[in-house]
């Protein structure tokens, strides 16, 4: 069974992101880049499916500039068999739909039985590519997956998705697209052997023209980025606990009108 995992490289969660000189993108100086955390759950799950079945191939794919090779290399170190890097200036200002189109073109070429993605990339927080990819392929899709099981003959995946108030379990005929939620699994750390082995694995560079795609204008464009307005200075309520608590409740009621 062939599984494709779509990942994104994002700034580490501890990054203090700043607006860049163009006012539309972030200042990337000094940023530590990581594989978006939700995508790691997707990679881990793909590897577990392959291990459980005792055969198959896991292909990591990502769209972005040269630095993204490093993120793909981490996926190979975790155990993915090979990687595809969508690396073209034509994709320098892609929105989720253009990303989904590029991914869909690769999926059509590669013909995997399952595509796994993370719930959302923690940079633009759009959480859209998984559903958009499913739509473009005409495949069923389940979001925010907390558990999954592919049946023995590889025809169906049973997936539990998180919704308000509980879990809903669905059978999806394969091929299908799933979006991983935190809690699905605990991603492994690459072993030294995995890291060494990753250096020999293939990362294929793919251009838009290879997929029959040209540059297309983004359907959603960023007009500008700005820092959040600073919050007004707060106050520390002094005094012993009983009087501080009383004063807090009074202030919440009378000054802030929050309760």
């Amino acid at each position: 069974m062939k599984i494709l995992v779509a990942i994104k490289q994002v700034p580490d969660t501890a990054t203090q992101v700043k607006v860049g000189g163009d006012g539309k993108s972030i200042d990337t100086a000094g940023i530590t880049w990581i594989v978006s955390p939700y995508d790691e759950y997707a990679v881990e799950e793909a590897l577990r499916i392959k291990e459980k079945r005792g055969q198959g191939e896991v292909v990591a794919i990502s769209l972005g500039p040269d630095r993204v090779r490093e993120a793909l290399r981490s996926c190979l170190a975790m155990g993915c068999d090979r990687a595809i890097h969508l690396n073209d200036a034509a994709w320098s200002a892609v929105d989720t739909l253009a990303t989904a189109r590029a991914l869909a073109a690769v999926v059509t070429q590669e013909a995997p039985q399952l595509v796994l993605c993370g719930r959302q990339a923690i940079d633009d927080d759009m959480g859209a590519v998984t559903a958009q990819l499913a739509e473009l392929l005409g495949w069923p899709c389940a979001y925010w997956i907390m558990e999954e099981a592919v049946d023995a003959d590889g025809k169906t995946v049973r997936a539990a998705r998180q919704v308000e108030g509980g879990l809903e379990v669905f059978d999806l005929p394969l091929p299908a697209v799933l979006a991983a939620q935190k809690g699905l699994n605990e991603p492994r750390y690459p072993t030294l052997k995995g890291i060494m082995g990753a250096k020999k694995k293939e990362i294929k560079d793919v251009k838009a023209a290879d997929l029959g795609l040209g540059a297309e204008p983004a359907q959603l464009a960023v007009l500008g980025l700005e820092a959040l307005p600073p919050r007004p200075p707060g106050r520390i309520i002094e005094g012993d606990v009983p009087s501080a608590v009383k004063e807090l409740v009074r202030a919440l009621r009378e000054d802030a009108k929050a309760i």
Binding site: T15, V19, D125, Q132, E135, C141, Y143, Q162, G234, L248
Partner: protein
């Protein structure tokens, strides 16, 4: 004539729209870019629910009632709404940020070949176009975005937009359009309900109380739940508490959890790691209780108490109970 602003109904699965719909309908009316209409996909609507949508300002309800629409499947919903949109040419399609609408509206946007702006916290008409403001990097920055063409598809964050006032006597025309029979590839096996705590959902709650590493263990969250019950709050947690296995991930606030904007956030034993602050700093009022006066959360708190949370919480619950009983 400009096309309508469609508001996709989020319901309680019992035939009634959720409270957040007042915010979506209210914002659509405030924008004034076109008639406000509701689109409701459900297996069974209620008369009361239709009345409610009218009172909240929907001039028309597109009622798509079919057993195939519940539980929602994005493949089925997007086909239905795309078919209707092709006929009616709405100007905008808006919905609240919920697990299903985030997926569905993304899929619909792809089907329509238009842009999607998820988790918006402000919308404005700029001449003839819509401009949306949305947090990125879990709220560390704000992005202003615009669409190349319509319909403009967006999800709106709960608790941010001013709700419409229900006005008795306002009614919506109910249309039951005939659409192609739904076809679904995926089928429901079972639904596992969570044991109800009687507390609101984290994403929708107006008040959130949150516990961090300072809670010391999972058994201590009961004191936060007691307080939450008194004031109708949801209980959240920091990543440290979730990673320690004290609370389920759906309670996590921050960059790898929920990003929230309640009217009141109260953090107990939460230090305020950057990725947690990103997830709650747009709360209207922030209260922090922590033993450590250097905890970063105090930098963004409106009110802080430097003390042991195990002393503060029971007393605070008592005081809040007194206030609520007044």
């Amino acid at each position: 004539m400009a096309g309508a602003f469609w508001c996709i109904v989020e319901d309680d699965r019992q035939g009634r729209p959720k409270k957040v719909m007042a915010e979506i309908l209210g914002e659509a009316a405030r924008l004034g870019g076109g008639p406000v209409e509701a689109v409701w996909l459900t297996d069974k609507a209620s008369e009361a629910g239709l009345t409610q949508l009218g009172e909240l300002g929907a001039t028309r309800v597109w009622l798509l009632e079919n057993a195939a629409y519940a539980p929602y499947r994005s493949e089925v919903w997007s086909a239905a709404v795309a078919e209707l949109a092709a006929r009616e040419s709405p100007r905008a399609i808006l919905g609240p940020v919920t697990s299903r609408q985030r997926e569905f509206l993304a899929r619909l946007a792809a089907r329509l070949g238009v842009g999607l702006a998820a988790d918006c916290v402000a919308l404005a008409m700029d001449g003839d176009t819509l401009v949306a403001t949305r947090p990125v990097y879990a709220g560390k920055l704000l992005a202003r975005v615009a669409w190349a063409r319509g319909p403009w598809v967006a999800t709106l964050r709960p608790n941010v937009f001013r709700p419409a006032d229900a006005q008795g006597g306002r009614t919506a025309a109910v249309e039951r359009p005939s659409l192609a029979a739904p076809t679904a590839q995926m089928t429901l096996v079972e639904r596992r309900e969570e044991a109800s705590t009687g507390l609101p959902e984290l994403a929708e709650a107006e008040i959130v109380v949150s516990g961090g590493r300072g809670m010391k263990g999972p058994e201590n969250y009961v004191i936060l739940e007691d307080m939450a019950r008194v004031i109708g709050a949801a209980v959240g947690a920091s990543r440290a508490a979730v990673d320690a296995g004290w609370r389920p991930h759906r309670h996590q606030i921050g960059q790898t959890g929920r990003t929230i904007s309640p009217k009141l956030y109260m953090g107990f034993g939460v230090s305020g790691a950057i990725q947690h602050l990103a997830g709650m700093r747009t709360s209207k009022v922030i209260v922090a209780v922590n033993k450590d006066p250097e905890a970063p959360i105090f930098k963004i708190a409106d009110y802080g108490i430097v003390a042991d949370l195990f002393e503060v919480v029971p007393q605070l619950t008592t005081e809040l109970k007194k206030l609520m009983e007044k």
